[in-house]
């Protein structure tokens, strides 16, 4: 009976790991080792969007942080500001370069990741989670439809590497 319990627990752990991994696909090609998450949407300018009801969390992708290099500063936008799809909402500085980042959606900025003020390297360490940059109250949910899904974003990264 004890052995059966151990086997059942092991099977359950294995099942839970498989479920977790199905949400995350590591894509490796001859041209890129970008990590792409299935449950996000993407802009061609390498920002990601995670929908949370009427809100969207925005950051830059694993590919973008890898190409930028060590992030040393993030110029965060102001809470309360209105952003439009395609508009620059901030700057990410990496060693010698200041690179604009562009909002994939329109709406009101309701939160920014203030942790980035002291720890900009969170953008490199966890671009899809602890490196998030801003949260926006959506103005037009339809805009999400024009963003790329994980598969199309993966193809976009592959094509731009040529």
């Amino acid at each position: 009976m004890a052995l059966r319990s151990v086997l059942v627990r092991a099977a359950e752990d294995f099942r839970r790991r498989c479920v977790a991994q199905s949400l995350t696909r590591t894509f490796r090609s001859p041209f890129t080792t970008a990590v792409v998450l299935d449950d996000l949407k993407y802009a061609e300018s390498h920002e990601w969007v995670k929908l949370e009801g009427d809100y969207a969390v925005v950051g830059i992708t694993h590919h973008a942080q890898g190409e930028l290099g060590d992030v040393v500063f993030v110029d965060l936008p102001e809470v309360g500001r209105q952003v439009s799809k395609g508009e620059s909402f901030g700057v990410v500085e990496s060693v010698k370069a200041a690179s604009d980042v562009y909002s994939p959606i329109s709406g009101e900025i309701v939160a920014v990741n203030s942790e980035l003020a002291e720890s900009p390297a969170l953008v490199n360490k966890g671009p899809f989670d602890e490196g998030w940059i801003m949260k926006v109250k959506l103005k037009d949910r339809e805009e999400i439809q024009s963003l790329l899904d994980a598969e199309k974003y993966k193809q976009h990264v592959e094509e731009s590497a040529h």
């Binding site: 190409e67 620059s88 060693v95 010698k96 200041a98 690179s99």
Partner: protein, 252 residues
């Protein structure tokens, strides 16, 4: 590519102009400015004076401190600096995407013919060096489908001015804890004259671009400053600088 040659143009005005040409125009540009007066200290977009400068000495000697819109470190510039700026559309360069390292490497190849007479010019980490000594500091600003790469070349420099700059927290690996005077070198020790240097640069750029000279008047007429655009360049006031060292004075 439009070529704008300037002589002693104030660096603050140059930075305002560059930001405008990057954000509010669609052309490719090359700016060459021979020196600036008065001397000024320029920090990068995230630069904090209290961390980068001997602020008390800067205030005492009334040196202007400017925060530029591009990334990178701190420079002190004067009449001995030669400024060269490239502003390009994505389609002007053979790069798959606009990111800092590929742009930096592209500029190394662009500049190479200008340094044919000088031994061992190359890009080392993020700096233009002769051997292992830096003679040009680079910085970039990248927006959608356009980028700016500007360099301040050390034609000559005054040691006493370098004393305003603290050793930065982030230094290139190749610096190896060397003092400023052992880490940098003067371009005038390797080139016949400033005019020859800028001629070499123009000839090098002509290998990749068709250059059309334009005057500052024509730029002002055809690319007016009234076109709205993001402006990040700012001057630190005396109050800003005093405020920056206030916590340090209180602690002391």
């Amino acid at each position: 590519m439009k070529l704008l040659r300037l002589q002693g143009f104030p660096i603050l005005q140059q930075l305002y102009l560059e930001e405008r040409l990057l954000r509010a125009t669609t052309h490719n540009w090359c700016l060459i400015n021979q020196g600036t007066n008065p001397p000024a200290i320029i920090v990068g977009i995230s630069g904090k004076p209290e961390k980068l400068l001997d602020v008390k000495a800067v205030l005492q000697d009334n040196i202007p401190v400017i925060r530029r819109f591009s990334g990178g470190g701190t420079v002190i510039v004067d009449t001995d600096t030669v400024f060269v700026t490239l502003i390009c559309r994505r389609d002007a360069v053979t790069l798959p995407d606009l990111y800092p390292r590929p742009i930096m490497e592209w500029t190394e190849h662009l500049y190479l013919p200008a340094f044919q007479t000088v031994p061992s010019f190359h890009l080392l980490e993020h700096d233009y060096v002769l051997g292992d000594r830096k003679f040009g500091g680079n910085a970039q600003s990248i927006i959608k489908d356009r980028f700016l790469h500007h360099t301040s070349f050390l034609w000559d420099y005054q040691d006493f001015r370098m004393a305003y700059l603290k050793l930065p927290q982030r230094t290139p690996t190749y610096r190896l804890a060397r003092s400023h005077s052992d880490f940098i070198c003067r371009l005038k020790d390797y080139m016949p004259s400033r005019e020859a240097f800028t001629d070499y640069i123009v000839k090098a750029f002509e290998q990749q671009f068709r250059l059309q000279e334009i005057s500052l008047d024509e730029v002002e007429k055809t690319q007016p400053s009234s076109v709205p655009h993001i402006t990040s360049t700012q001057v630190f006031t005396t109050a800003d600088l005093q405020q920056s060292i206030m916590p340090l004075i209180v602690k002391g």
